[in-house]
Amino acid sequence: MLEAASLTKTYVTAQGPWRAVDDVSFRIEAGEFFTLLGPSGCGKTTTLRSIAGLETPDEGRIAIGGQAVFDARAGVNLPANRRDLGMVFQSYAVWPHMSVLRNVAFPLEVHGASRREAAEGARRALDLVGLGHLAERSATLLSGGQQQRVALARAIVRPVRLLLFDEPLSNLDAELRIQMRVELRDLQRRLSATSVYVTHDQEEAMALSDRIAVMRAGRIVEVGTPDQLYLRPRHPFTARFIGQAELVPADLLRRDGGGALLRTRLGDIACEWAGDVAPGPASLLVRPEHIELHPPGTDGPNTAHGRVLSVAFLGKLADHEVDVAGLRMRVQTMSTARRAPGTEVTLRFPPERCVALAPE
């Protein structure tokens, strides 16, 4: 449905040229919810705006539904208003001089709908986002969440080829954010709209996306399903950025099949999954919630001895700080199974949850 190939965008700044987007390529299938995830300043917005036609990349190609909308070599650059898109902006960009209804009706009107048809369509879209009762209100008199819904309704009021979202939830409070996240996902499913979503919030990305592209400094680090990126990342940056990660310096002794054997200060650890890493310096990824705590003296492969330094009670869960061979590791258990500070323990790192990665 969407194909981006080798997108590159360089900005000229006072400090010299700056590659905001650097050789970015990806494909998105029809109906897919695809997210660009990365820390702020990594080039997500620039990539998204290039797709929208609001930014002109220096190099690369973008095709929507097989039609090239941008091709630096061929000199193709379809303007934004002819790409048939819907977009939700981070600042919402709700037009303050129009009513809610007219805001939402606008895309229909500019596509030739009569004022009445447009109003009807807009009402349907507003109902979809739960704002039907505010249609006549002036757009300046809305709360942030309501403005966000207006922006959303405006983006989906027409059946478009592609929906683009630029951190649409980042200005909402936490509770509303979670609620909107659910609604957004439902809506997207219902409309089966192909969507590109930009966020720096990994939880949001995990909750919404079919696939996520992790970006750093203008480049895509890796692309995968939320599951893959969480459990089997290929890159230490992904591991760190998504979820909590304990990364232990290691030496990769050998690779076998999909896995690898690592030598660490904790002892030798077998991993059933290895990312992009060759024998030599490496790192061991294990998530705090995957580390098991056993009574001291429990033996076996992938174990190490440690002592609990402190415990934080989080309700359902408990966070332990454990000293293992001079390393401080975080271990998360159900709070019913928590250990008191000073307790001696054996830690077990289940091989199916251990990942060998390149050194950080």
Binding site: A52, E55, N81, S91, W95, H97, F106, T140, L164
Partner: protein, 561 residues
């Protein structure tokens, strides 16, 4: 509480600047000969003005002139501001400089340059067109209402541009982009999104220009009066400078000025009503925005050609004519043959003038101080007006706007009276009385511009700073000023140029110690030396060119950083 306290001195200062001339105006209109020391009171002046035969026949001309010039300047100025500030028009930096360039030229000279281009008898363009198209009559006659409107449009255009450009520049570009992505064409985006959003700024500019057109005299005096097209401001001129009684008819001018002030108040009120109904749109949000030009697509080069055709006709040609004229022994029809007669005499005479150094120093001080004061006061006034909830804030806004409706002559008379009375403020005859005059009159321009930008500021932005513990002045200095900076700088440049070129007030208040460049220019001009006056105009222009060029360099540096 702090806000109210800060409003008080501001209100007092404005009252001093605006109300004092207004009161003197009222008094003068009731004095037999318009001088404060006249004995007795009378309504004769009112009767002579409003029941006499002179005023009403001029009203039709005045309306056509004011409405025509305002509409044309607004249309073109808005278009240019949008093209330059919001689109990917090629060569925008140079365009910005070009638009502002005529600002430093005294309108008197500009009008003369246009006469040399478009006079049916000597106009260069007319002859060129007659030659090229084989016409036997000149296609244009500058000495007509059309000519007046045209030249006034050219005179006002830079001001319109400077008033609107900051508002355009500050608008959150995503508001346009959202429409663009929705499938709207460029035209739709402009007419349905951009213009309505900027309505407060555009309306403010319209009101300002209308009043200016009502009061200005340079263009009607140079182009209209020779062919008996009189407007209301011609009356002011005749009564002030050429009264048949030997003394100026200040009483009548004052009575007439009350009409201007009433029109101004009416327009200001309409403006306030309109901009209340339509709310004020906060189009600068705190969210990281980065204005990015709108692609014009295939219109890009067409717009480029259009803009430069305009510049060629409206800026380059008249300025070139001024330059050539300044190199001629006497003012004459511009033909290729005159190139043989070029001489540097006038420039050398100007540069060798014994009063030049004093005049340059005086002009520089006056322009710098007036520009800085107006910029600062405008920001304070606008902030108070737009942001505070204090009671008198509307009045403060009006006070800042009012002096625009008082003819320069009467401001001059008022200031002379005031500072001859309060001799403990010893500024009569010095450059400081000019500073007071310029601050008083130019504040109207400044506040219209900064108002337009401050209404765009989201309240959140300042409130965030207040919550963060910043006090009134800190918020102003650290938050409001930087965000309003493009507007404040635009005001500064505008006032600087106007203070440097302003002639009639400078002449009116001329005294022992305040010779400025424009009065030097007038010396040449009224001494029968048009070309020498043109030479001064050329140097003023050059100075402004450097200033504006420098400003644009800074802007570009800032944009990159």
């Amino acid at each position: 509480m702090m806000r109210r306290l800060a409003l008080l001195p501001l209100g007092l200062l404005l009252a001093y600047l605006a109300v004092v001339p207004l009161i003197l105006l009222g008094l003068a209109s009731l004095k037999p000969e318009g001088f404060l020391d006249d004995e007795g009171w009378t309504f004769d002046n009112w009767r002579a003005v409003y029941l006499g035969p002179q005023l009403w026949p001029m009203l039709g001309n005045t309306l056509v002139f004011a409405l025509g010039s305002t509409a044309a300047a607004l249309l073109l100025g808005t278009l240019l501001a949008w093209l330059v500030e919001r689109t990917d028009l090629p060569g925008r930096g140079l365009v910005r400089v070009m638009i502002i360039l005529p600002l430093a030229t005294p309108p008197l000279l500009l009008a003369i340059a246009w006469v040399l281009l478009l006079s049916p008898r000597t106009g260069f363009f007319n002859f060129a067109l007659m030659g090229a198209l084989g016409l036997d009559r000149a296609p244009f006659d500058i000495f007509s209402m059309g000519g007046m409107v045209f030249v006034e449009t050219m005179v006002l255009l830079p001001s319109v541009y400077l008033m609107l450009a900051p508002a355009f520049r500050n608008m959150d570009p995503n508001l346009e982009h959202a429409a663009f992505v929705s499938g709207a064409s460029v035209w739709t985006v402009v007419t349905r999104i951009v213009l309505p959003l900027l309505r407060p700024a555009i309306l403010a500019a319209a009101v300002f220009m209308l009043i200016v057109c009502l009061v200005v005299f340079d263009v009607p005096g140079t182009i209209g009066m020779p062919v008996r097209i009189f407007v209301v401001s011609s009356l002011v001129y005749i009564w002030a400078a050429e009264s048949p009684t030997g003394l100026p008819l200040y009483g009548r001018i004052a009575a007439l000025a009350v009409l201007f002030v009433v029109v101004l108040l009416a327009l200001a009120l309409v403006y306030q009503l309109l901009s209340l109904q339509g709310q004020r749109f906060a189009t600068i949000s705190g969210k990281g925005y980065r204005p990015r030009p709108m692609p014009l697509g295939r219109w890009r080069w067409a717009a480029f050609a259009g803009v430069w055709t305009y510049f060629f006709l409206a800026t380059i040609a008249p300025l070139a004519v001024l330059l050539v004229t300044s190199l001629l022994p006497f003012q004459t029809r511009i033909t290729w043959e005159v190139l043989d007669r070029l001489t540097l005499d006038h420039h050398l005479a100007f540069l060798g003038n014994p009063r030049l150094l004093t005049a340059v120093r005086n002009t520089a001080i006056i322009a710098l101080v007036s520009a800085s004061l107006v910029a600062l006061l405008s920001l304070l006034v606008s902030w108070a007006v737009v942001r505070s909830r204090a009671p008198g804030r509307r009045i403060i806004d009006l006070l800042a706007f009012l002096p625009l409706g008082i003819p320069g002559v009467m401001i001059g008379v008022g200031l002379i009276t005031v500072y001859l009375t309060f001799t403990w403020i010893p500024i009569y005859g010095t450059i400081w009385i000019l500073v007071v005059a310029y601050v008083t009159t130019f504040l109207a321009y400044g506040t219209r511009t900064t108002n337009g930008v401050l209404v765009q500021l989201h309240r959140d932005i300042e409130e965030a700073a207040s919550v963060a513990g910043a006090g009134y002045w800190t918020v102003l200095r650290r938050i409001v000023l930087p965000l309003a900076l493009p507007a404040v700088i635009a005001v500064w440049v505008w006032v600087f140029a106007h203070a440097a070129r302003e002639l009639s007030t400078a002449l009116m208040l001329h005294g022992r110690h305040n010779t400025v460049i424009s009065t030097l220019m007038w010396n040449f001009w009224s001494g029968g030396d048009g070309p020498r006056a043109a030479a001064v105009g050329v140097w003023l222009m050059l100075a402004l060119f450097l200033l504006v060029g420098l400003w644009q360099l800074l802007v570009r540096r800032q944009e990159r950083a």
